[in-house]
């Protein structure tokens, strides 16, 4: 029995092995033959047939030219060397069954006892020929040490995306590891047969037999499991990630957990999920965006598939723009961020969309009281190209009609957003992703005023794997954020347009020279074009004079490098450097002032024209980033971090919160870039095999400069906007503590944040420190999930926060026409009442059953269970001959129940 097919040699070898077990004496077999003009392969075949000896060889390794040779009762031990003398092959006999023809070099090196033990072991298994068994290395290339290193990847069968945090366990050795952020794992095992067990939430367990002969790689795929697919999507971390990673202030947000949170009117909200994290807060319900560690909304860099999102809220601030059904991973960096990120002071929220299914078409949909959503995904070329598209929209006007406020009944709220992700894998090393996003909002209040705004962006991302150690991610993108503020009636009827465009190029190279060192480097460049304001009349009686400010443009570029170095098992360092360079570029007319450090309308002395392409202002900033982890033991670590951040694009608003039409302002000759030092240090400890995670972080941020506004600043279509701003310094500091139970029928998190934020600006509060709008000393959030079984989940969420600072009247006088004029305190001297709220949700999901094509679930939630009238603001009024009043405006002053139906095809 012999084979000439080199591809099947290993299978044949496996078949042979049982025969190898028996005999040393096979080489004593006497051969008497006369071979004329025959190739060696024929001669070996003939010898095997005549003497019932199995001789295995790779035909390709044998010379093909015919030879003449004769043997007369010569033993095989003499015949074979003669036959093979012109080749580099040797032979090896095993037991009485057969002979292996192998490279002589291998045979000369000799085999260890383990080799033979291995050979013995594998030979005794009946299922050796099982085609599901994966061989690693080749039997003709056994590792002499008796051990081998297996490197592998685990990916999802449907999306071909790497699975992070999958458990790879060798059952017979009781040894296991977790896959890293690229889905990689590495194991050192004895040669021989082992059973791998791979597990990951939401996927079927995979039990895989392997036969290990030498070092090698293995690619494993997991198929979707019998539990809620949502849970599969995001748990993007290893079990001890919080203790192990070096980046302080880093939080991976669990999208599956967010989907279980009680919702406002049934709409899953990523931003509201963020607010459960320590250090993340909001000015109030309905306020746009979120605040991190006392930073303003515009100090957060919000990225979705490399595209920058400038307004992360729908319906003013009641819903977020992210469609949770399409999200793969959410990462929040608070203060301390790797060098590849920049352009904002306070935080980075990096949202990564998932790829569509590469194997089959899937539909997901949901419908709630005010909005509906649907997503579709599937292959374009099976296994190579896929798409995923999602759409959400609202039909909320019927809710407004239920509210007993006439002005609200006559209001309208509408939004939609749409996402498209197209992924094409040319091969294992080259992937192209096209990602697009569009959103639109229309808000009208009582036929008085309104906002019309939206985002459109598109990105092209090219990922290339040069080798196992070198990766590249190149992205190009463009975006346009448009907003129109509408005054709807009378002689002031107008439309105010404010727009922002950018073009972005970014290259990120990852180099893994050793297992202990990873280096990220690259560059980025963003070309901003801001249309800061154009107002035009609306209607026939409007008296508004059309006015349009000149557009502004800037180029923000950076080169960066960041290294993560595991110095020892205990020490892990992440250090980086970002060099950012910013240019504000003409054409632009720039006003000149007597004192250019403090421009005022009164001190205007003229203007200067900068032609197209001419530099108006240039700023360069070196931004070191550093984060350190010291692991005290397997479950405990201490981390520290520092980052220098700079921000060249700011949002201008003198209202309680930013509005959709708040102007984006580029740094220029007068408006300097904001810069911050961020320090943080933390203690992290897990208990009970990472089931319990605890952390305590303290931070300090100083900002120099920052901007505030002169009293009654005029920020609308103002060509001398710099005269309305005053610069100063700011600081924020705090302590964040959290305890989290990650698994079990009852799990959840409790977090407490102590934070302060104040600032000092010339001309405000007599130049003394005063509280910023974001100073909320105490913030507590408690999240409890009760999951008695797969189908039923109960979620409770409680929040408490100190009231934010506000300015109140402390005196009054009466004007000669009877108007009572309040006199306000120094800025932010008082606080609005404290905030607290309890939410509840119950999710009933129908479990997945084999053979079913879809699954459904219901979510019932109550937002603000006990109907607390939390104050968004407190304002004061006094009329002649009447007592002054303090009025509390509660945006959501009642309990809001909602029910949502979810559908998902398998």
């Amino acid at each position: 029995m012999a084979s000439k097919n080199p591809l099947s040699i290993l299978i044949l070898l496996i078949c042979l092995i049982p025969f190898l077990a028996e005999g040393q004496s096979i080489l004593d077999t006497k051969i008497t033959e006369n071979f004329q003009n025959q190739p060696i392969s024929s001669i070996l075949e003939k010898i095997g047939q005549t003497n019932q000896i199995s001789i295995f060889y790779k035909a390709s390794a044998l010379p093909t030219q015919p030879i003449n040779i004769a043997f007369d009762l010569k033993p095989l031990s003499i015949v074979l060397p003669e036959l093979l003398k012109e080749t580099e092959l040797g032979f090896l006999a095993y037991r009485s069954y057969g002979i292996l023809i192998l490279p002589a070099k291998i045979i000369e090196e000799g085999y260890t006892a383990e080799y033979y033990q291995t050979l013995e072991a594998v030979s005794t298994k009946e299922e050796l020929a099982n085609k599901n068994t994966i061989n690693i290395g080749a039997i003709d290339n056994l590792n002499p040490s008796g051990k081998a290193i297996i490197e592998g990847t685990v990916q999802a069968e449907s999306t071909l995306e790497a699975i992070i945090g999958a458990t790879v366990f060798i059952t017979d050795l009781n040894q296991g590891v977790s896959t890293d952020e690229k889905g990689h794992f590495r194991l050192e095992v004895p040669l021989g047969e082992h059973e791998l067990q791979i597990q990951y939430l939401g996927h079927e367990d995979l039990n895989q037999l392997i036969k290990v002969y030498n070092n090698g790689a293995i690619a494993l795929t997991l198929s979707q499991g019998a539990v809620d697919l949502d849970e599969v999507i995001i748990t993007a971390k290893t079990a001890d990630f919080n203790v192990d990673n070096a980046q302080i202030g880093l939080t991976n947000i669990d999208v599956a957990a967010i989907k279980k949170l009680p919702t406002f009117l049934g709409e899953t909200d990523i931003i509201k999920g963020l607010l459960l994290q320590p250090g993340v807060s909001t000015l109030g319900e309905g306020a746009i965006g979120f605040n991190v560690r006392g930073g303003a909304v515009d100090q957060n860099l919000v990225i979705q598939n490399e595209g920058i999102i400038f307004n992360s809220s729908h319906a003013l601030g009641f819903f977020s723009t992210f469609n949770a059904d399409l999200i793969k991973k959410i990462t929040l960096y608070k203060g301390s961020m790797p060098a590849q990120y920049g352009g904002r002071l306070a935080s980075v929220l990096d949202v990564e969309m998932r790829d569509g299914d590469f194997q089959g078409v899937k539909v997901k949909a949901g419908i709630g009281p005010v909005s509906g959503r649907v997503s579709l995904e599937g292959p374009i070329i099976k296994g190579k190209s896929s798409f995923i598209a999602g759409f959400r929209s609202t039909y909320s006007d019927w809710v407004l009609n239920l509210i007993k406020v006439p002005e609200i009944q006559q209001s309208t709220v509408f939004f939609y957003d749409a996402n498209l992700n197209f992924t094409h894998r040319f091969n294992e090393k080259n992937t192209l992703i096209f990602s697009a996003y569009a959103s639109h909002d229309n808000f009208g209040f009582n036929q008085d005023f309104g906002f019309d705004y939206g985002t459109k962006n598109a990105q092209l991302i090219y990922k290339k794997t040069f080798s196992e150690k070198l990766f590249s991610k190149l992205s190009v993108g463009t975006s346009r954020y448009e907003s129109t503020q509408l005054e709807l009636g009378g002689t002031n009827a107008s439309e105010l347009d404010i727009n922002l465009n950018y073009y972005k190029l970014k290259e990120l190279v990852t180099f893994l020279p050793t297992k202990k060192l990873s280096i990220h480097g690259g560059f980025s460049s963003i070309w901003y074009r801001v249309e800061p304001g154009a107002i035009r009349p609306r209607g026939t009686i409007s008296q508004i004079i059309p006015k349009s400010l000149e557009f502004e443009q800037s180029l923000e570029s950076a080169v960066f490098a960041n290294a993560d170095w595991a110095i020892s098992p205990a020490w892990l360092v992440s250090a980086g450097l970002r060099l950012s360079h910013y240019q504000n570029i003409g054409p632009k007319t720039v006003f000149q002032y007597v004192d250019e450090t403090a421009p005022t309308l009164e001190s205007t002395i003229g203007n200067q024209r900068f032609e197209k392409g001419k530099s108006i202002a240039t700023y360069t900033q070196l931004e070191p980033r550093f984060s350190l982890r010291y692991r005290l033991n397997a479950s405990t670590s201490i981390k520290a971090g520092y980052s220098r951040t700079a921000q060249y694009l700011n949002q201008i608003f003198n209202t309680n919160t930013a509005t959709p039409s708040s102007q984006w302002q580029l740094s220029n000759a007068y408006i300097k870039p904001l810069r911050a030092h961020n320090f943080s240090i933390g203690y992290f400890r897990n208990f009970d095999n990472n089931i319990w995670e605890t952390s305590m972080e303290t931070y300090f941020r100083s900002i120099d400069p920052l901007f505030d506004y002169i009293d009654f600043a005029n920020l609308t279509v103002n060509e001398q906007i710099e005269t309305q701003l005053v610069s100063g310094i700011g600081r924020s500091y705090g302590l964040e503590m959290s305890i989290k139970k990650t698994t079990g029928n009852i799990h959840g998190a409790l977090s407490y944040t102590f934070s302060r934020s104040d600032q000092k600006v010339a001309g405000i509060n007599e130049g003394q420190w005063y509280l910023s709008n974001l100073d909320k000393p105490h913030d507590i959030s408690l999240l409890v999930n009760l999951q008695p079984n797969q189908r039923n989940t109960f979620t409770f969420n409680f929040n408490y926060a100190s009231g934010r600072p506000t300015t109140v009247p402390i005196a009054s006088y009466q004007e000669n026409n009877g108007v009572v004029v309040p006199i306000y305190s120094t800025r932010n001297q008082f606080r609005i009442p404290d905030y607290h709220r309890l939410d509840f949700a119950y999710t009933r999901g129908k479990g997945y059953k084999k053979g079913k094509k879809f699954k459904t679930s219901w979510t019932f939630s109550i937002y603000n269970v006990y109907g607390r009238r939390n104050a968004f603001s407190v304002f004061y009024s006094q009329k002649p001959f009447k007592s002054p009043k303090a009025n509390r405006l509660s945006i959501l002053g009642n309990a809001f129940p909602a029910i949502t139906f979810n559908f998902e095809s398998i």
Binding site: V405, N654, T657, F712, I810
Partner: protein, 368 residues
């Protein structure tokens, strides 16, 4: 579990709960005691025949129900022109200083185009001075339009009902004849209505008064306009005022609209004042701040002095809104009632003079 039934029930609960949505209520005032040792000086020079100058000086009252400002008496108040002319303004009532200046005043001619200021010396020898305010002519009102509109409002029981409102709009030039400069304008409003007491049907001999009430209107807003922000030199259909068509319109209503000219500084003051008076706590509201006037203390220029002295010329127009124009509103008091009804009505219905600003003297302008 039948989820269709449960869903319907939950949806019903949801709708009912949302129906009770309410977002604005009154809360206790913060502990906001006035710690300011500051004064308020406000004044106005109104061009006319005669011109009137008035000034009020007081301290500030706390922002609380129980406090009221203390007038400052015996101050020495002077009106000065940019040319150096001056005239003393005597105190006429406690804390109030007024003077009528005829057009032929020998030492203080009041002229359009001239600038004026006031100086104040307090009994404690602190001296205050306003900026010079130019006296600017006012364009004449061209037309006033009255429209009755209907829109939903919340009643006292927080139910939505439809109500009628009087909407006033105005046409006015924004420039003076032969003067290309645009005007800064401010409007004030006064309403006068007739308010008859109830008669008792069975007691016809009881004398019944008919009162006339004068009410300043729109006191929670300041209505101003910058003529430089208008595309055309004339303002057409510019919204001024909206008043509910209530009992005040039952027996006719006179609305007086006063159009005042302002300097740019005064316009800025009144505009900022409106920002802090007309508040609703919404997302879009400009943050409140101290409105600075145009007085300074000469010994301590850093002291914040509240109030403003401004000069103005006024043009006014008075329009009548008849009962039928107001679509026959419901009266507060029945003109003729039986004894039981008479007694159950508010005291005002038995004695209309109890209402502040009431008089039984028929105003000259009331023509029927």
């Amino acid at each position: 579990m039948n989820f269709k039934i449960v869903y319907k029930k939950i949806l019903l609960v949801c709708i009912l709960a949302l129906g009770y949505f309410a977002c604005l209520d009154e809360i206790p005032l913060a502990n906001s005691e006035n710690t300011l040792d500051r004064i308020m000086i406000r004044g106005k020079l109104s061009y006319g025949t005669p011109s009137m100058v008035s000034l009020a000086i007081s301290d500030l009252s706390d922002f609380s129900p129980s406090d009221s400002p203390v007038p400052i008496v015996d101050a020495i108040v002077l009106l000065k022109s940019a040319n150096g002319e001056a005239v003393a303004i005597p105190m006429t009532t406690i804390g109030s200083y007024e003077l009528a200046i005829p057009s032929n005043h020998p030492t203080m001619p009041i002229e359009i185009g001239q600038s004026y200021q006031v100086t104040v010396q307090l009994p404690n020898n602190r001296n205050y001075e306003s900026t010079l305010e130019p006296l600017i002519g006012v364009p004449a009102i061209k037309a006033v339009h009255k429209n009755v509109i209907e829109r939903p409002v919340l009643d006292d029981l927080e139910n939505i009902e439809s109500r009628l409102f009087l909407e006033i709009t105005l046409d006015t030039p924004l420039e003076l004849p032969n003067n290309p400069n645009r005007s800064f304008l401010k409007w004030e409003f006064e309403g006068t209505y007739r308010f008859p007491e109830s008669a008792i049907a069975t007691e016809p001999l009881k004398p019944v008064n008919v009162c006339y009430n004068f009410d300043p209107l729109n006191l929670d807003k300041v209505v101003v306009f910058d003529g430089n922000q208008a595309a055309q030199p004339i303002l057409n259909n510019h919204f001024l005022l909206e008043e509910p068509l209530d009992f005040r319109f039952y027996r006719g209503f006179y609305l007086k609209i006063v159009q005042q000219s302002l300097s740019e500084g005064a316009f800025k003051y009144w505009k900022e004042l409106n920002t802090i008076i007309d508040r609703d706590g919404s997302f879009f509201e400009t943050l409140p701040a101290i409105v600075r006037g145009n007085f300074k203390q000469l010994e301590n220029p850093a002291e914040i002095v509240f109030g403003y002295f401004y000069t103005t010329m006024e043009d006014s127009i008075r329009i009548f809104i008849s009962q039928d124009e107001a679509e026959f509103p419901t009266p507060m008091c029945r003109e003729v009632a039986d004894r039981e009804t008479f007694n159950s009505q508010p005291n005002l219905c038995r004695n209309c003079l109890l209402k502040a600003g009431s008089t039984v003297n028929k105003p000259d302008f009331w023509i029927n």
